[in-house]
Each structure stands twice: as C-alpha cells, then as structure tokens.
C-alpha cells in the first residue's frame, strides 16, 4: 500500500520511498523517511492534492507523488 491509498484519518509507518529523483528526494528531505509515522488528513476538493501529517506538521503533495511512498501493511501501535 502506498501513501496515495491511505484512507482519511488513518496512520501508517513509512516502509520505503521508491525511486531516486528530485521529487522523492524532496519528500525525504521533508521528513518522509523510512520509519516515520504518517497520517492522512484529507484530499483537496478535486481529489488532488492530498494533505498528510508527518512529524507533527501538515504536508500537501499530489497523488502521483504520494504513490512513491510505500507504507507498512498494518497501523502502528498507538
């Protein structure tokens, strides 16, 4: 499952970030590295972009960018 499929309100831990390009690099620099927890806040009115919470702040990213972030299958223990 990738970040793009994460249902609203749910949290997961990042497993890996696929690909090595400017976009994935920027995602990691913004704190989306393996092991960090992310929570889906919402999607914008037209379904894209998405808003997530990572490391305590809100980050907006497009669906196709979120697809490169692979998540653990189960929710982290709260």
């Amino acid at each position: 499952m990738t970040l793009a499929d994460l249902p609203k309100g749910e949290s997961r831990t990042v497993l890996s970030v696929l690909g090595e390009n400017v976009v994935t690099r920027r995602l990691m620099e913004m704190g989306l590295v393996p092991g960090v927890a992310v929570r889906m806040i919402k999607s914008a009115p037209f379904g894209d972009p998405l808003e997530i919470n990572v490391r305590g702040y809100s980050l907006a990213l497009r669906r196709n960018e979120a697809e490169s972030v692979v998540l653990e299958k189960v929710a982290p223990n709260e």
């Binding site: 970030v17 090595e20 400017v22 976009v23 690099r25 920027r26 995602l27 990691m28 620099e29 913004m30 704190g31 590295v33 393996p34 960090v36 806040i41 919402k42 914008a44 009115p45 037209f46 379904g47 894209d48 972009p49 808003e51 919470n53 490391r55 305590g56 702040y57 809100s58 980050l59 907006a60 990213l61 497009r62 960018e65």
Partner: protein
C-alpha cells in the same frame, strides 16, 4: 575595516525554513536598517540589514527560506553560495544563525544539520517557543544544545525575548568550529539518500531526549480551521469570496487614491506651466517628466493594496491553502496552484499581478504565469471597451433584453482568459517544457500575521516597483512624448492645412480649424509612424490615425482615448463617455473620404486590445521580474503577433460574413 582594535565587522547569515519566523526575527534584529536587492544575474531576493551586537555590528544576510541545501532549486544554490562565500561582495559568513521553529522541531532541524556540515559556526535561534509552551510541552534547551553540539537560544521576535542573549552567543561563537555529530556514511555522492537518513536519525534521538510532551492530546487547531477552509464546498466558496474581496479592493478601492494622484500630478503640471516660460522645457517637464512620473506612481495604490492582502494571506497561512484548493485546476494547463492569485490580480492590473508571481518557486512555472498574466483584461482596458461599445453598440440588445454591450464586455474577458490558458498549455509543452511541477508544500499552521512584517513587506514591494520599473517607464514616456512633440510644426502650417483634417460633423461645425495639438500630432514623428504602419494595419480596418493612437497607447491602454480625442480635434480632455468624441469617431473619414469606423472596426480594435501588450509599465515590470530582455521582448513579440492575427481574423472574417 576594524572599528576598534578587537572586533572587526562581522558577516552573519540567517537561515531557516519558510514559515519558521525568520523574516520576523530579521526585522526585529535589524529594524528599518535593511536593504533589498537581487543576487547578481538572478531574481532571487537578496536582503541585508545591520545588526548591532553591543559594541560591534554585523551585516545580517537573510537567506531565502529553505527546506534543504542540496541545491535542487535556485534559492538553495544561492544560499549555498552565500554560506561558502562564493558570492561577490559578500564575505563568507562568520556565524550562521539557524532559525528553528520549536513547534516543528524535527523538520526544521534538518536544515540546521546540513548547515553543520559546512564547518561555519552555527547558533540555533529557537522561535515559536511561546506557542510550544502554551501546549504544555517542555523543552530542555541545555540538553538539546548539548545533543546537537551547538548553542541554542530561545527567541521571541515579537516580545524581543532572547535578543541580547542571541547577540552574546553569536559573538562568543565567532572563530569556533562545529563537529558533525553523526556519521555521513563515508561520504559518497551528495545524492546519497543515506545522508538524509543519517541526519533524520540523529535529529530524532536528539529531540527525543530533550523534549517532553506533557499533554498527549494532539493539537490540531489548524486542522479544525481547515475542516472549514479547505472543505470541499465551503472551502471553495470562501476562497472565491476572499479572491473577490481582493479583486474588488484593487479594482475599486484603489480608484480614489489613484484619481487623487492623477489630479495631483495634473495640478502639479499646471503649476509648473504657470511658473516656467512657455516652450520646450515646460513641455518636456510637464508632458514628458511629470506625466511620466505620475504614470508610474498612479499604480502605487493598487500595488500597496494587493501586497497588503498577499502579505496577510501568506503570513496567516491561507495562501498555501488556496494553492492546495486550486492546484488540480491549475495543473490541467501545467501551472502551479500558486499561479491563481497573480492571475486573478491581473484583472485589476498586470503589474502587481506579475510582482505577485514571486510566490511561485519554480522558475519555469513562474515565467509561464508572467507571460500569460497580461491577457487578463485589466482595468486600463475598460476605457477602450467603454468607448467602443458606447460608440457602436450602445442601446442594442440581444433577445430583446440582454444588453449587447454587456455581452461584448464579457466576451472580451472570456477571450483573454481562453487565450491565456491555451498559451500556458503550449508554453508548458514547448519552450518552458518541464515535468509537472511537484506540489510538495507545507501547509503551515494558521498564525496571526505580524503587522510589522506585513507593512514592511508591502513597502518593500512598492519601493522596488518605483525604483526598478519607474526608471524604464519614465524613459519610455519621455521617448513617446518626444515622438509626438517633434518635429514642431510652424504656426503657419497649422492655419494653412485644414480641410482634410476637419470633420464634417454637426458638432464640430462651429470650429473652423483644427486644434493646434491635433495638427501637431499629425505632423509629428508619431503621426508619420502612423502613416508608415498604415499598410500593415489596413487589413485590420485601421487607418493611420488609429495607427497613431495605437503607437501612443503603448504608454498605457487608456491613452488611446485621449489620443483619439486629440487626433479627431475634440480636445484631449474628453473621456471615454464623451458624446463629442463618440460622434467624432462615428463620423471620421479617411483620406479617401470613406467612413473609417464601423462596428466591425470597433470590435476588431477591442480584440486587439485584449491581446496586445500595449502597456510599457507591464514591459518594465516583466523585464524586472524575469531579469531578462530576451523573455521580455519575446512577450512583446508574441503578444503583438497574436493580437494582430486575432484582429485580422476578426476583421476579415467579419467582412466575409457580411458584417460591416
């Protein structure tokens, strides 16, 4: 130069994430003692100020807001060059003050750890500590400092907390060195993701040991506000309401100060005329310089208002939400969500709109937005539309109740928008080709904006406009004045040549000879240019007199009205609703005695004005914002070509369809 024996003048760089409170801190440390310019050859803003550190003082360089220093963007490249001392006239910084938002510690510290890797002493200025403590979190600053291996000072720029301590700490740190407190996996290329992991792993453990979250409830105030403001329905409705307010403000609230400025400069011109002897000097000063300066300053109310709104919207955190809401729509034509506000503002005036594109980080997206902004029908086009509709389409209705004038007006706006979107689509696939811009954007927590920052930002913009665009506008307006002023026709010439110029219309019949200013314009270089371009504009249905008006209105679109008034001898003070001017236009005949203006000509002229650049201030501001004459001239060229083509199609097509 040493001010005394012990301390020399220091250079200190201020680095930090966007929204970390860097600008507020910079303003609080330097007061009004700052200047803004561009880094050589690029449009990245270079902000410097003087920071008084007790006995000595330092040049404080405000680096662009950054998330990383890996030089994937121009801002990052410049910041790296400043830190490594590669920029001309900026010494390598003695100390870097890294601004870190306590409420967003981990991500903010990422940039700080990158700074450690450059070896220059780093002092961390911890901002937003008041918000952090209000949430009942505790932070052990001593421990954090020990873990990070650099001094950490809590500052609150608004309350001036920690300013002295920050200054003292910076002075103590000069000449020391930093150790990188983590393993960078044996070097390797900078692209190595391992470096990013190493930094974040180090940060996570350093933060865990020094921060205690006593209140485990998550604080999601901004998320609660967003449940309304970025709501699928309400969010869009509120956005439209806010944009309408901004639009309304620059469109109508700015009118009063603009009128006052115009009257003020008119009065000043009159005063100078009374004071100076009649002649070329008085004409140059009044019609060239004062009119030119007035033409520059008249935009100030709109620019100040727009930037007041943008500063407030940006500093509260709303601007990021607007981009979030609209990104999907804008990305369809390859633009960034942030392009919406500049384009919207351009309906009032393209100048503040183009200046507002600075919020778009990616250069190609920004240029594409700049290149299409002038297609939005600005307020200066209104007099042209009003005059044409008043002269040829007034009182006509469609289906008996819809005013034809209103439909035409709407059609002109729609034409501008459609062409803009098509051009953006093409530009983003050709010369500004780039993968769709990534939309990885922080939605910062909502905050009360600092009044001081808002006003400083607003004044800085206004000053930049006056300084940079003003000089170009003044130069062009003097050139245009000279084109219309020279060569001087002798008084005899004025009296002897009249029949072809006189309009055989009832209202004009009381005047036996053309007004001298009309005659002067005809004989001037501008008049000759009008004749010169007549063969070119003939296929559009325009004669040389319209040609002169087109040339003159390159200064500003609304000048078309006063130029037509002069050339048709009704006196230059007529406005677009003047009956005299309207009937003069309707009855105007060309040199062969044929009627010049038909409804089709009027429509063609309107189409021309939707698409042609016809505004030297826009040219000047595009030159300033792109920092390139090539792009500026490209814009002038393609807009003029497009305007010509569309007018040609309108006129010739209209004729083929049997319209007159």
């Amino acid at each position: 130069m040493s001010q005394n024996g012990t301390t020399s003048h220091l250079t200190i760089a201020l680095a930090g994430n966007p929204n970390a409170g860097k600008t507020t801190l910079f303003n609080s440390l330097t007061g009004l003692n700052q200047k803004v310019a561009n880094y050589p050859g690029v449009t990245v803003e270079r902000k410097e100020g003087v920071w008084s550190l007790g006995e000595s003082s330092a040049t404080l360089i405000d680096l662009p807001g950054l998330y990383s220093l890996d030089a994937t963007s121009l801002d990052e490249q410049i910041a790296r060059d400043v830190i490594t001392g590669k920029i001309e006239n900026i010494p390598k910084p003695d100390v870097i003050v890294s601004v870190v938002d306590a409420t967003n510690l981990e991500r903010n510290l990422y940039l700080a750890t990158q700074l450690f890797e450059y070896g220059t002493p780093v002092v961390i200025a911890l901002t937003m500590i008041d918000v952090f403590e209000k949430r009942k979190h505790e932070i052990d600053i001593g421990k954090l400092s020990a873990n990070l291996g650099v001094p950490v000072v809590a500052v609150n720029a608004k309350a001036e907390r920690g300013r002295i301590e920050l200054a003292e700490t910076v002075l103590e740190t000069v000449g020391t060195s930093v150790k990188i407190p983590y393993q960078l996996n044996g070097g390797g290329p900078d692209r190595d993701n391992g470096k990013i992991f190493a930094r974040y792993n180090f940060i996570s453990s350093a933060v865990q040991e020094s921060v205690r979250h006593n209140d485990t409830r998550e604080h999601r105030i901004s998320e609660k506000i967003d449940s309304v403001l970025t709501h699928k329905v309400f969010g869009l409705a509120i956005l439209i309401l806010i944009l309408l307010t901004v639009f309304q403000a620059i469109f109508s609230w700015a009118t009063l100060p603009m009128d006052l400025l115009e009257q003020g400069f008119g009065a000043l011109g009159g005063g100078v005329r009374n004071f100076l002897p009649e002649g070329i000097l008085a004409d140059l000063i009044v019609d060239g310089i004062i009119a030119g300066v007035g033409g520059v300053l008249v935009f100030l109310p709109q620019i100040l208002l727009l930037f007041l709104f943008i500063s407030v919207l940006e500093d509260t955190g709303y601007l990021a939400r607007a981009a979030f809401l609209l990104d999907k729509l804008m990305s369809r034509v390859g633009l960034h969500g942030k392009a919406f506000l500049p384009l919207m503002s351009s309906f009032a005036c393209a100048i503040p709109g183009i200046m507002a594109t600075r919020t778009i980080e990616n250069r190609r997206d920004r240029f594409a937005t700049i290149l299409i902004a002038p297609f939005m029908s600005c307020s200066a086009r209104l007099p042209v539309y009003t005059l044409m509709i008043g002269a040829f389409f007034a009182g006509q209705t469609v289906f008996g109740f819809i005013s034809l004038g209103a439909i035409l007006m709407l059609a002109m706006y729609a034409l501008g928008i459609t062409v803009a979107l098509i051009v953006a689509f093409i530009l983003k696939r050709t010369i500004l080709k780039a993968p769709p811009p990534p939309f990885i954007m922080e939605l910062p927590p909502y905050r009360m904006p600092s009044l001081r920052t808002v006003f400083q930002n607003m004044l800085t913009r206004a000053w930049l406009f006056v300084k940079r665009a003003g000089t170009v506008i003044l130069a062009i307006s003097i050139i245009l004045w000279a084109l219309m002023y020279f060569p001087r026709s002798s008084p005899q010439a004025v009296v002897s040549s009249q029949p072809e110029a006189v309009l055989n219309n009832d209202q004009r019949s009381t005047i036996d000879e053309p007004l001298p200013e009309g005659e002067q314009l005809r004989k001037s270089f501008a008049g000759r240019l009008g004749h010169l371009i007549e063969p070119v504009i003939r296929p559009l249905g325009f004669d040389w007199k319209i040609g002169v008006a087109l040339i003159a209105s390159f200064a500003a679109r609304e000048v078309l009205v006063s130029t037509l008034s002069i050339i048709y001898n009704v006196g230059k003070d007529e406005n677009e609703e003047s009956e005299t001017l309207i009937s003069a236009i309707r009855n105007a005949k060309d040199d062969n005695g044929r009627i010049v203006w038909t409804p089709l000509t009027a429509l063609t002229l309107m189409v021309f004005f939707v698409l042609a650049i016809q505004c030297m201030s826009t040219v000047a501001i595009v030159r300033r914002e792109t920092n390139s004459w090539t792009w500026t001239l490209f814009m002038v060229g393609y807009m003029t070509a497009l305007a010509y083509f569309a007018s040609f199609v309108t006129y010739q097509g209209g004729k083929m369809l049997g319209f007159e």
